[in-house]
């Protein structure tokens, strides 16, 4: 019998949940009827958890989908909420950029069922390579409340609360997470999961309020709604509260999200009791609560990651209630990267003129730097992308331009390939390639993944055809959204509810768009990829190649679960001339050079049997390794 997923454990239990899982539990406890998402780290486990419990969702009558992109996910969740069903939609911060066109009018239109929008920021860019973005602005632009949980228990509680606020005010509510909230595990106390209201009905009773003049009236109304929530929030002791309230101190700290826990850790290490105002409501700000906290202080330390938003707000508020207040923050901390206890201690050390507490250590930074050689992310052994990049590079002119996009294939930015000339947004590989092809005589080759193709590259492709430019577009189709953890997409053949569906073929879509030269090749067949790339390279019109090969990581996991042994390769030392093609130009992490003799070998523990190194070896020195037994 299948084990009960921890997210659907019974009421009264204490379980360890990831922040993202706790958001799902909160939604379930709030009676969510509809969930949609486009995966993006650090938010990806929210949709993955809904997907994992799809059988439970079926029993409850509720629904989950992996949408084609964040805008689709946002609109779908809005449709459910318009019809009176509670909905949740999740994405990473960049996702809200994609969805923003449909997001900002939502509060103007209003929702009937509670609607929660989860956005996950990534201070320090652990899994984001486009910009270091602060999602807190979204709430202010869109006139929507935003809650900031700090740990898994709050992820659950705040998500539940967000549904109530949303229904009370009739506007969607944001939950803002960061990497160290999404990806932190902790103990969560479970409450009851009610039978959700999963069926709704759309009645066209809204008052044209997204058109002027009602739109302008609604704008004023929205400011009133935020004031109403502000008043409610001043009384809520779970959302915003003061720790060490009774400490006699003319110095105080204000923190939001996970930074609150770093502050508490730092104070523990200093053995200090200083009042800390923890803000769970990022928008609208509980101004009275802040005012009464800062009134009697001489100094206040604002601890917030990314932009100095609270800091400028506190400075503004202090002008009225405590003009002499010394507001400290970013100058003692950092504008970029994530915070840690160490950083807070450093700041506190400066403010309080105290020595930072440290355990005795013989650590030598120089030695550490020398031995801990950098280990950049690389394509997995047997990755179809490595093979495609290798083949395309072989056939490309020296001054070729390589359009980069978002997916596992960003790793192509590193050596030995260096074939991702930019990383801007999903779809910008082909999109920017078009502009370059219009003004430059260089050969432009744009890469795009399968999920990215559906997500954001289709209008770009149409633009290439319509406005007649000539990039070669290479679709890297591994039939799964690999980078964010193997979520199904329209090319996979399975839905978020675990149902079979006909996979969409990228080549058919490209053909329908009017692309004349469209080909499909097998990523693991080097000769086939090279021949097609060579043929298309000389064309002066746009061309489209689908390089199809299953994600090897997923394939290997599947084989392991089935108990199937995948053959591994070895190098025949008598044939190998140590030319280095496989090691330096292909760069498979399973291939190594032995010291001190310089012999090449394949590590059998990490060879995933794709056979491509054998195809590219000029001496044909690779062969299938036979079991010794």
């Amino acid at each position: 019998m299948a084990r009960t997923h921890r997210v659907v454990e019974l009421k009264g239990k204490k379980v360890i949940l990831l922040g993202n899982e706790a958001v799902v539990r909160g939604a379930l406890e709030a009676g969510v009827g509809f969930a949609s998402a486009y995966p993006g780290t650090p938010s990806s486990e929210i949709p993955d958890t809904f997907h994992a419990i799809h059988e439970n969702l079926k029993q409850l009558g509720s629904y989950f989908e992996y949408s084609t992109n964040e805008k689709c996910a946002m609109e779908a969740a809005a449709g459910a909420a318009f019809s009176g069903v509670r909905s949740i939609v999740s994405m990473k911060h960049f996702g809200v950029n994609v969805a923003s066109d449909s997001t900002y009018p939502l509060a103007f239109y209003g929702v009937k069922g509670g609607m929660v929008i989860v956005t996950a920021d990534d201070p320090g860019c652990w899994s984001s390579g486009q910009s270091e973005q602060d999602s807190r602005w979204f709430a202010r632009i869109g006139h929507m409340p935003m809650l900031e949980p700090s740990d898994p228990q709050e992820c659950k509680d705040f998500t539940k609360l967000a549904f109530d606020i949303s229904e009370n005010l009739g506007v969607p509510v944001f939950i803002r997470l960061t990497t160290r909230v999404s990806h932190v595990s902790g103990i969560v106390n479970l409450d009851k999961i009610p039978k959700p209201k999963a069926k709704g009905r759309f009645t066209p009773d809204t008052k044209w309020q997204t058109l002027p003049p009602l739109l302008l009236k609604r704008h004023i109304e929205l400011h009133g709604l935020m004031k109403k929530l502000q008043a409610l929030a001043e009384k809520d002791k779970k959302l915003n509260y003061v720790s060490n309230k009774d400490a006699k101190s003319d110095f105080g700290i204000i923190a939001n999200g996970v930074t609150y826990h770093y502050v508490m850790e730092a104070l523990k290490n200093f053995n200090l009791k200083i009042p800390v105002l923890k803000l769970g409501l990022a928008w609208p700000l509980p101004e009275q609560t802040i005012n009464s906290f800062i009134k009697g202080l001489k100094k206040v330390f604002i601890v917030e990651e990314l932009e100095p938003i609270l800091e400028s707000d506190v400075k503004r508020l202090a002008k009225d209630v405590n003009p002499k207040l010394n507001v400290l923050g970013k100058d003692l901390l950092c504008y970029s990267g994530e915070y840690r206890t160490d950083l807070i201690e450093k700041g506190l050390g400066v403010i309080l003129k105290k020595k930072v507490p440290r355990k005795p250590s013989c650590l030598c930074e120089d030695t550490l730097g020398k031995i801990a050689i950098k280990r950049p992310a690389t394509f997995c052994p047997g990755c179809p992308h490595r093979s495609t990049f290798y083949a395309v590079k072989q056939e490309s002119p020296k001054d070729a331009v390589f359009g980069g996009d978002v997916g596992c294939y960003v790793i192509g930015i590193f050596k030995p390939f260096e074939m991702q000339d930019w990383l801007i947004s999903m779809g910008a590989g082909p999109g920017i390639s078009h502009g370059i092809a219009k003004v430059s005589d260089q050969k432009v080759i744009a890469f795009v993944g399968d999920s990215t193709f559906f997500h954001g590259a289709m209008p770009q492709l149409v633009n290439i055809v319509f406005n007649k430019s000539n990039p070669m577009v290479v679709a890297l189709d591994n039939r799964i959204t690999a980078m964010t953890g193997h979520q199904p997409n329209p090319s996979t053949g399975i839905t978020g509810m675990g149902e079979q569906v006909d996979p969409l073929k990228i080549e058919n879509i490209a053909t329908a768009f009017g692309m004349k030269d469209v080909a499909v090749v097998n990523s693991f067949n080097l000769a086939q990829v090279r021949t097609k790339v060579k043929e298309y390279m000389v064309k002066d019109t746009s061309t489209f190649i689908v390089s199809r090969g299953d994600c090897r990581l997923r394939y290997m996991r599947l084989m392991r679960h089935k108990g199937v042994k995948v053959p591994v390769f070895e190098i025949d030392k008598n044939k190998c001339t140590k030319c280095g093609e496989c090691l330096y130009n292909f760069g498979c992490p399973a291939i190594h050079r032995e010291e001190p003799n310089g012999d090449f070998y394949i590590d059998p523990d990490f060879c995933w049997g794709c056979s491509v190194c054998g195809q590219l070896c000029p001496e044909k020195a690779m062969r299938v390794k036979q079991d010794k037994k």
Partner: protein
């Protein structure tokens, strides 16, 4: 319940080696023993064979999910050089258990660098942590022998850490936690491979 203020542990290795599985097991074992726990995991790009680090904290007085530098009580590493990378969290008493199996990044070959061997790693860790214990064990070799695959090396290391008393949790609690997180068909083999590490001299 034991009065334990805090226990700070780093589990690290190369993405894909099973770092998160160990963290999940230890966290649940700590809950079984009644502690508060916080674990910080890293996902995303780091999974693709890059350096991966997980922080696990348990005890009755913990706030931050991340370990402060110099506070780690135990570092378990699935790769020798990664143990050194994690030593920025070490102090003079930190204990180490790591797998001898090297995973040399391609950049070392391409730039013709020298990859530090296990001996050099042990020497460095002993310098960094003069009062701590350093165990380098052939976890991957043992996993391959007993399990048929190196993926279970993480459990061998965990067994060794518990067996040496470097992780203040009971074997029974670890087994209870395994029952909660591992697929049922892999449960018994994992318990067996844990014992291999536990009894390893």
């Amino acid at each position: 319940m034991k009065k334990l203020d805090k226990f700070d542990m780093v589990i690290c290795g190369v993405g894909g080696q099973g770092v998160l599985t160990v963290a999940g097991i230890v966290a649940r074992a700590a809950l079984v023993e009644g502690y508060n726990i916080k674990a910080a995991e890293l996902h995303g790009l780091a999974m693709r064979f890059g350096a991966l680090e997980t922080h696990l904290r348990f005890g009755n007085n913990i706030h931050s999910p991340l370990i402060k530098s110099g506070e780690a009580d135990l570092i378990i590493s699935l790769e020798p050089v990664e143990a050194v990378r994690a030593s920025r969290y070490s102090n003079n008493d930190t204990n180490y258990v790591f797998d001898q199996k090297e995973f040399i990044p391609n950049v070392v070959h391409r730039e013709k660098k020298k990859y530090p061997g296990v001996k050099e790693v042990v020497k460095t860790l002993k310098e960094f942590s003069p009062k701590g214990k350093v165990f380098d064990i052939p976890a991957s070799d043992l996993a391959r022998k007993e399990f048929g695959n190196v993926v279970a090396a993480n459990i061998v290391l965990l067994g060794k850490a518990v067996g040496e008393g470097l992780l203040p949790l009971k074997k029974q609690s670890i087994f209870k936690a395994m029952e909660q997180v591992l697929p049922s068909k892999f449960l018994e083999p994992n318990k067996k491979i844990f014992e291999v590490g536990f009894k390893l001299k």
